[in-house]
């Protein structure tokens, strides 16, 4: 198992495009993974600039960028990363 840092973009674009839904992300992380995941909020990651709103919301898991992030996609990526 490997510890990961998840940064959820809460810039306006990501928030409006669906990140508002991810505010409770920590509650959905499976119990056995919780100690391995550090979830942080983040200012606009600047990925949305120049009209790139279409793939928002963005999150990062360590250095990986996940676009069109929704709960199930994020949880899947977290699981993969933590379990290596």
């Amino acid at each position: 198992m490997k510890k990961v840092t998840v940064r959820v973009c809460s810039g306006t674009t990501c928030f409006v495009m669906g990140a508002s839904n991810l505010q409770m992300l920590h509650e959905y992380v499976p119990e056995e993974l919780r100690d391995w995941v550090d979830i942080q909020g983040a200012h606009c990651l600047e990925l949305c600039r120049d009209r790139n709103y279409g793939a928002a919301p963005y999150i990062t898991i360590d250095d990986e960028i996940v676009a069109e992030a929704d709960l199930s996609l994020i949880l899947e990526r977290i699981e993969q990363r933590v379990r290596g």
Partner: protein
């Protein structure tokens, strides 16, 4: 339930594309391309084919431009024509909701269906007990003839295998007043003589086939022409965007609004009025008083529960109070825009000379994205006059009661408030309201909210759910309360 889904995302995406074209000064030139851009040849489609999808998107564009789509609509009229008319328009017309004809038609008409679990049993109680003889056995399976079925549901209870299911039509199911039904072609039709504009059908439709006629471009044109446009934000805006009230206000100013005011200040006036009126009514022996701030509820009383009318508070809605405040204290020439989560308010504003336009949080969200304004990165500006805890609390169910009871608590000889809360209009709660008028129960102060949970779960929110509510609650905790019911006479500061 209010949730983020692809229908919402599609609506926001479409709005943003239109806004980009508008801000490039090319709405009229570009708008006819939008359905093609969103459903390019060879790409994915949600319905049968890209052409159907494009037809639906085209109708969505029409409603974002503030027009209805109906039998009168000519499919050959280019969107550019609609755009031109929208940008020239000075008058707004109702009804504010409509069905995207092309979008609706996917729900089956018959509501009962026999599933594969049917064993074609010997007893066949479904068949025998059907009062219309609508059930036959076809190839060893029960089969319901939709032409004969009257949706009584008897068969469902009879089947020992639970093989018969009821398939609800989401919009009909959600409508608390039976104002939406299917026509002969199976398409939903809204009956406006019954409709209370609560927006529940829109939230319920999985195809996003019910839309509002937007006033987005009317507002933007007012700003572009240099009018003084004032944003009046509903208290439920807290939690809808990342950032504080002052930062959201800064964002609105960047969008071109000349000032931002809190509708909560109007709600404070409403609360004071209601407290005084309640005292009077109790002294005069009235059985009860109900709140009047939710326009879907007051419309319900008008159209469906006339017996309650004498008990509805005479207090103006917070939106009206604030609109009147702006026109009297700020600038009579200013154009007022209510920004909130509510569809019923859009309907209410059609008849209110103090409120010129209504925008939803969803539309504001699209606007912020289109202009790339990151609210949380802005320096907060002051919003005056500041709403108090009482008025700001109107955004959540129970808040009106808390405000009125709180205002009365200090006064000597004030009547005792026995509160009753109708949290969300449904067929069930409407039946209860009908008995309130007759039986004068279950309390003497009745607060009614059309949306379950209050305005925070209105149909026009961008951030539904508990996180937004939690932020709003924190905001309320940190808000100053009105003291002794009249302490802020002096805070009517002009800006």
């Amino acid at each position: 339930m209010n949730y983020h889904n692809y229908a919402t995302r599609l609506r926001i995406d479409l709005c943003i594309r239109m806004l980009h074209a508008y801000f490039d000064g090319k709405l009229i030139e570009k708008i006819d391309r939008i359905p093609l851009d969103m459903r390019p040849r060879g790409g994915e489609h949600a319905r049968c084919c890209i052409y159907r999808d494009r037809a639906i998107i085209r109708q969505r564009c029409i409603s974002v431009l503030g027009f209805g789509t109906g039998p009168e609509e000519d499919e050959l009229t280019p969107l550019a024509d609609y755009a031109r008319r929208a940008l020239e328009r000075t008058l707004i017309e109702g009804p504010v909701l409509h069905v995207i004809e092309e979008g609706c038609s996917s729900c089956i008409r018959s509501r009962y269906e026999v599933t594969n679990a049917c064993r074609g049993c010997l007893a066949r109680p479904c068949m025998l007990n059907c009062p219309r003889r609508a059930i036959r056995i076809v190839q060893g399976h029960a089969d319901i003839d939709p032409a004969l079925c009257v949706n009584c549901g008897k068969c469902l209870g009879e089947c020992p295998f639970h093989a018969i299911i009821r398939i609800p039509i989401p919009c009909e199911e959600a409508c608390p007043v039976d104002a939406i039904t299917k026509d002969e072609q199976g398409r939903a039709v809204i009956h406006f003589e019954k409709c209370i504009f609560c927006g529940k059908c829109m939230k319920a439709c999985p195809f996003g086939a019910i839309m509002e006629k937007s006033q987005l471009f009317d507002v933007l044109e007012q700003i572009r022409r240099g009018c003084r446009v004032v944003a009046m934000v509903a208290p439920s805006i807290i939690g809808q965007f990342p950032g504080s009230l002052g930062q959201i206000a800064a964002g609105l100013e960047k969008l071109g609004f000349c000032a931002v005011v809190e509708v909560a200040h109007g709600a404070d006036m409403t609360a004071r009025h209601e407290a005084a009126e309640f005292t009077e009514r109790m002294a005069r022996g009235d059985a009860c008083m109900t709140s009047s701030c939710c326009p879907a509820y007051t419309d319900l009383v008008k159209k469906h529960v006339a017996g309650l009318a004498p008990f509805v508070s005479s207090a103006a809605t917070p939106m009206h109070a604030m609109g009147a405040w702006v026109k009297q204290q700020f600038d009579p020439q200013a154009r007022t825009v209510f920004i909130g989560p509510c569809f019923a308010k859009r309907h209410e504003a059609l008849f209110d000379s103090c409120v010129d336009y209504v925008m939803t949080f969803e539309e504001l969200g699209a606007l912020l994205v289109a202009r790339e304004i990151d609210v949380a990165a802005l320096d907060a500006v002051d919003v005056e006059p500041a709403g108090r805890r009482e008025g700001r609390g109107f955004a959540v169910s129970g808040g009106v009661t808390r405000a009125v009871a709180g205002l009365l608590a200090d006064g000597a000889g004030a009547p005792l408030v026995v509160p009753a809360l109708v949290d969300g209009l449904s067929k069930k709660t409407i039946a209860l309201l009908k008995t309130v008028a007759r039986e004068r129960q279950p309390g003497n102060f009745i607060e009614v909210m059309a949306c379950e949970g209050g305005c925070v779960s209105g149909p026009g929110v961008v951030a539904p759910g508990a996180a937004a509510v939690r932020q709003l609650e924190k905001f309320l905790e940190n808000s100053q309360a009105i003291r002794n019911g009249c302490a802020d006479q002096h805070s009517h500061a002009q800006r």
